[in-house]
Amino acid sequence: MKRILPFPLLSATLFTMWVLLTGFSPGHIVIGAAVAVIVSRVMLALQPEPSNIRISSAIPRLAGLVFVDILRSNIAVARIVLFKPKERKSGFIHLPIELQNPYALATLAVIMTATPGTLWLQHDARNRRVLIHVLDLVDESEWVDLIKNRYERLLMEIFE
């Protein structure tokens, strides 16, 4: 199984993608399967870092959390843009971080950046810290707490 489908999650994604794109005809399901198997083997050549994602309830919890956060921050940022509140102050934060798995880091980076109001700048692997920029920096520790407690924990659960 591992030899035919070295990256099952990827293959599944590709298959789903193919079927979504082409429609649910039997022919395309066959082709989609073939594409999923063949193309995912390309990744073998690229030798990505091994990932061992644990399928658990943490995934839907994270997704829900992200969705709600995105909604909230959308409103928050829209408010800032439209009304330009005086008290606002933006700034950079150095954030210590335990995560080391690159996939976990990538996911965190995507979440942070996709959420309006926060921006991931870079991860310093040697000093185990990330640099982020926050649009509405009311209290630095609040952000640290938010990220460490809400996201990092869930991500640890999924990836490490």
Partner: protein, 976 residues
């Protein structure tokens, strides 16, 4: 009686001999000369066999079709006159061959000499034997060519090279004039056939184009025969080996012009304008030549000017227009050939034996070479017109004709006087030639000790001198019949009565002869001693023909260069401006003719968003134009905005395929530009001295703005006119109707690309392949500018930063920077590839296709390179772009060729919908296979270009930097 076809042999023999000689070994002097001599003899013998035919007054013709549609047949024609002339060419040619055998040194590549000589002989025969005006010109030009090679035979001498070049240019100039003249003559006479033309003299002379035609033909003849003012090339041709001079300036080359004038005399002569031009030129040449000859110190120079003078004499005779003049001209042509050839040969012997031709050094050679001296004296006497020699006879006829001239102009009384004067000069230089060479004290300081030449070398001179004597003493028995045949063939019924007797009683011509002889002797006694001290001929010496020629030529070249610089440019900007302006002008012709009108077809209502889109797009285009010089990145972004507007417009205007493709191309082009930008120099804002942009710069910019606005307005106006017109009933309907039923696809655009017009697509992928290979090979030799070789400043700073911190290693900054993006972009690689396959597969029915798919795939590769770096990617993936291109091209071509198997034309498609169990309807179109080929080529191409560009950054400069050496040599060829 002889077969006319023998003429072919006569003409061909010299050429065959020439080719043969060219292949002889360099030192085969004897073989070459023997063969050449033999050819001369055989050809002469063949010619002699025509005597009986020609004696009856007939003309021999041989016609072979060559270019019938242009009225050009290969015609050989032998009349009495041409027969005599051909004999002269061959006879003297044979003697020259014999002479040259001894004259030419063993060190010289003699076979080549004989090869040229024979070819020249053949060309001369060609001129003489041609029965077609154009054919005459044909061989005429060939004589120019081969004389050029002969004159330049000793091309290690500067003077030989110059002499050859001047002769070639002057005679070829005449040649082209002659060609046009002959064409006009043929046009007037209605045929190029010589016999036809000769029969239509009256028509020709009465024609409106007679004068231009005459002038053109005369220029041809005069340049060849070294008539004033074209005479200057002839003395310079003396740098040729003496046998060549003997041949060219006695019987051939210079006589070609005379030949032509005699040949066409019945057609052209007899008008007032003919008389005025030809007589004047002939007279001028006669005098100028004779006068100049007196003052030459070089034996050959003296003979050269004497030749010019005698040619002038003959021309003058022809110009008179009287039949007797013609007789005299023909007679003198023959005579001059004999004595001049022998004199040249004698001069050659003197040169050969003493090592000099300088009259001032030569002296008293009579003692050393008595036989040669005697021969030379006889020949010189003939040249001077001494009685009992042939020169005397024809000169008497000339003087008689000079007296007879009745044109009613000043020339009538000037001619006899000037003719006598010229004869006197002739005597003078003949005496000088003989006296200074053979008499006087023994010579001192000669390069060689002179002695008599070998017997065989003297033999040709002996024969020629004998001819001078025999003709001079018993003309009626010797030259008489031959001359009669020749004259009759030219004049026909107009042939006059003439007498070749030596004694005509005491008459004016005899008196003039005596005056000339006595005068010449007296003049030599009076002034002969002073001649050696003169460096220049008085009066005429100022007319430096050659210098004038060179000056004119140089002025022409300088003028041309200056003019050329004025009407051309090396600058790209100017060229582009011209291109656009010319296009604008050309494009507006239609509008100026028919007026501009807007059509009345259906239009569509404006979508507000479309207007917004183009406010942005247009502003960005202008912004890009303004910013491109100093803010390249900004300009690039603005071009990107305009590009996006274009993409969205495509989609809005019902062209989803275009939108899709353009979007993909946009991305890849942007990356390409950035890859290139790396190697461009920094641009700093302009600083003009004084702080103001100079006026000329502002003027240029203003002009550019004007042109640009005009171009924009033009494009807009035309586009609007197009769009508002009702659509013509064109071919598009067919494609819409047939795409599915005939082409098996619902995306009509794609069906057009891979089926209806798949040949276009084949060409298109070929272009892609070519460009990729070109880029690749160009970049192999890429050499960046000095300041770009180094790392970009950003990387240097970042590396320094990494090096300066304890907690960092080299490359950490980049690694940290790219960590997250790299992870994401690597995992997107298979996703994008899947997308690429999706575009490929669906293209036939929906927007997409091989090109879109291919570009998508190469963007996947590109992202990988950007995220992970060249070395890292190539350590893992071996992309082998060239192989992709190769396979793709093969796929496309083979798919197209598959149709041949079924008996259909290339690229005919096959499609059907397969009913597969479980799977259902599957479209199977061969066009899809073709599209796969396209896909493959596009992937290979784009990847090759991007990778080749990307590789420049990691190439190692020659200056050793071992730590930066590449880990691995990537294989772009697909061969491990």
């Amino acid at each position: 009686m002889s077969d006319a076809r023998l003429l072919i042999l006569v003409l061909a023999l010299p050429f065959l001999g020439s080719i043969l000689a060219a292949f002889l070994p360099t030192r085969a002097r004897n073989a070459a000369s023997f063969m050449a001599g033999l050819i001369g003899l055989i050809a002469s013998a063949l010619l002699l066999s025509f005597y009986s035919t020609l004696a009856t007054g007939q003309t021999v013709r041989h016609v072979a079709p060559w270019l019938p549609s242009l009225g050009l047949d290969f015609t050989l024609r032998l009349s009495g006159f041409t027969w005599l002339f051909a004999l002269l060419v061959l006879g003297i040619g044979t003697l020259v061959v014999l002479y040259a055998r001894y004259y030419m040194s063993e060190e010289d590549p003699v076979p080549r000499f004989f090869s040229f000589l024979l070819a020249f002989m053949g060309s001369m025969l060609g001129v003489v034997l041609s029965g077609n005006l154009i054919q005459i010109v044909f061989f005429w030009e060939m004589t120019s060519l081969f004389s050029f090679l002969l004159i330049g035979y000793w091309h290690h001498n500067q003077s030989a090279r110059d002499g050859a070049r001047i002769a070639l240019i002057v005679t070829c100039l005449g040649g082209v004039c002659l060609l046009v003249g002959m064409l006009l003559l043929g046009h007037i006479a209605g045929s190029y056939d010589l016999d036809v033309v000769l029969g239509r003299g009256d028509i020709v002379r009465a024609h409106a184009l007679y004068l231009p035609m005459l002038i053109l033909i005369l220029i041809g003849a005069f340049t060849k025969s070294a008539q004033f003012p074209f005479q200057f090339w002839l003395p310079h041709a003396m740098s040729a080996p003496t046998p060549v001079s003997a041949y060219l300036h006695s019987a051939t080359m210079v006589k070609a012009g005379i030949f032509l004038l005699i040949l066409l005399w019945p057609v052209l002569a007899g008008t007032q304008i003919w008389y005025l031009i030809v007589v004047t030129i002939g007279l001028a040449t006669l005098l100028v030549g004779a006068w100049s000859a007196i003052f030459q110190h070089d034996l050959k120079g003296l003979l050269a000017y004497s030749t010019i003078s005698h040619l002038g004499l003959i021309t003058l005779l022809l110009g008179l227009g009287s039949p007797l003049g013609l007789v005299a001209a023909i007679f003198h042509t023959v005579n001059h050939a004999t004595f001049k050839a022998s004199l040249f040969m004698a001069a050659g012997i003197i040169d050969h034996e003493t090592g000099t031709r300088d009259l001032r050094k030569l002296s008293g050679l009579m003692k050393f070479m008595p036989i040669t001296a005697t021969l030379a004296m006889v020949a010189a006497a003939a040249m001077a017109g001494v009685p009992l020699l042939n020169g005397f006879l024809s000169k008497e006829m000339f003087l008689a004709e000079a007296l007879e001239s009745q044109s009613g102009t000043l020339l009538d009384w000037a001619l006899p006087i000037l003719a006598t004067l010229a004869s006197m000069f002739s005597v003078l230089y003949s005496i000088r030639f003989i006296h200074q060479t053979f008499f006087g004290p023994p010579p001192v300081d000669l390069p060689h000790t002179p002695h008599e030449a070998p017997h065989w070398m003297r033999l040709p001179i002996e024969i020629l001198v004998l001819a001078c004597l025999v003709v001079g003493i018993i003309p009626t028995l010797t030259i008489g019949p031959l001359l009669q045949i020749a004259v009759r063939s030219v004049l026909g019924d107009r042939t006059p009565d003439y007498s070749l007797a030596i004694w005509h009683g005491f008459n004016m011509p005899l008196l003039m002869s005596v005056i000339a002889l006595v005068g010449g002797v007296l003049l030599y006694r009076r002034f002969g001693g002073r001649l050696n001290a003169m460096t220049n001929s008085p009066f005429i010496g100022r007319l430096k023909g050659r210098r004038t020629f060179e000056t004119v030529l140089a002025a022409l070249i300088d003028g041309a260069s200056a003019l050329h610089r004025m009407v051309s440019t090396k600058r790209l900007q100017v060229q582009l401006r011209i291109l656009i302006v010319v296009t604008l002008a050309a494009g507006s012709i239609g509008f100026l003719t028919y007026g501009y009108s807007v059509g009345n077809g259906p239009t569509i209502m404006l979508d507000p968003i479309f207007a917004v889109l183009w406010i942005l797009g247009g502003a960005s285009a202008i912004g890009a134009a303004v910013q491109a010089k100093f803010h390249r990145l900004a300009a690039l972004a603005m071009v990107g905005v305009a590009g996006l507007s274009t993409c969205i417009s495509f989609i809005w205007l019902s062209a989803p395929d275009l939108g899709l493709t353009q979007l993909l191309v946009e991305s890849i082009t942007l990356v390409l530009m950035l890859l290139g930008l790396r190697w461009l120099p920094q641009r700093l804002p302009e600083f003009w001295p004084g702080g103001r942009t100079p006026f000329n710069v502002r003027l240029r910019r203003g002009g550019d703005i004007l042109i640009a606005v005009a171009a924009g307005l033009g494009a807009a106006a035309i586009a609007y006119a197009m769009m508002t017109r009702p659509e013509p009933e064109g071919i598009s309907r067919f494609f819409l109707e047939q795409a599915y039923h005939g082409g098996g696809g619902t995306n009509v655009v794609n069906v057009i690309l891979v089926d209806f017009r798949s040949f276009d697509t084949l060409g298109e992928i070929t272009v892609l392949a070519i460009v990729a290979l070109t880029v690749f090979s160009l970049l192999r030799r890429f050499r960046p500018a000095a300041e770009s070789v180094e790392l970009p400043v950003q990387q240097k700073v970042q590396n320094a930063f990494d090096a300066g911190r304890e907690d960092r290693e080299h490359g950490d900054t980049a690694a940290h920077y790219l960590l997250v993006p790299r992870v994401i972009m690597e995992w997107m690689f298979p996703i994008i590839l899947t997308c690429a396959l999706y575009f490929l597969i669906r293209g036939h029915d929906l927007p997409g296709g091989g090109f879109a798919g291919g570009v998508t795939a190469s963007i996947a590769i590109l992202l990988l390179y950007m995220a992970s770096g060249t070395r890292s990617v190539e350590a893992r993936l071996n992309i082998q772009p060239v192989r992709w291109i190769s396979v793709g091209l093969m796929f496309a071509v083979l798919t197209g060729m598959a149709a041949w198997l079924a008996g259909y034309p290339l690229l005919s498609t096959y499609f059907s919908y397969l009913e597969l169990p479980l799977i259902g309807d599957m479209p199977v179109a061969s066009a899809l296979l073709f599209d796969i080929g396209v896909f493959s080529v596009v992937v290979g191409t784009t990847a090759l270009i991007l990778i080749a560009l990307a590789h420049q950054s990691i190439r190692t400069p020659r200056a050793p930097k071992p730590e930066k050496a590449p880990d691995k040599i990537p294989d772009m060829e697909g061969d491990t």
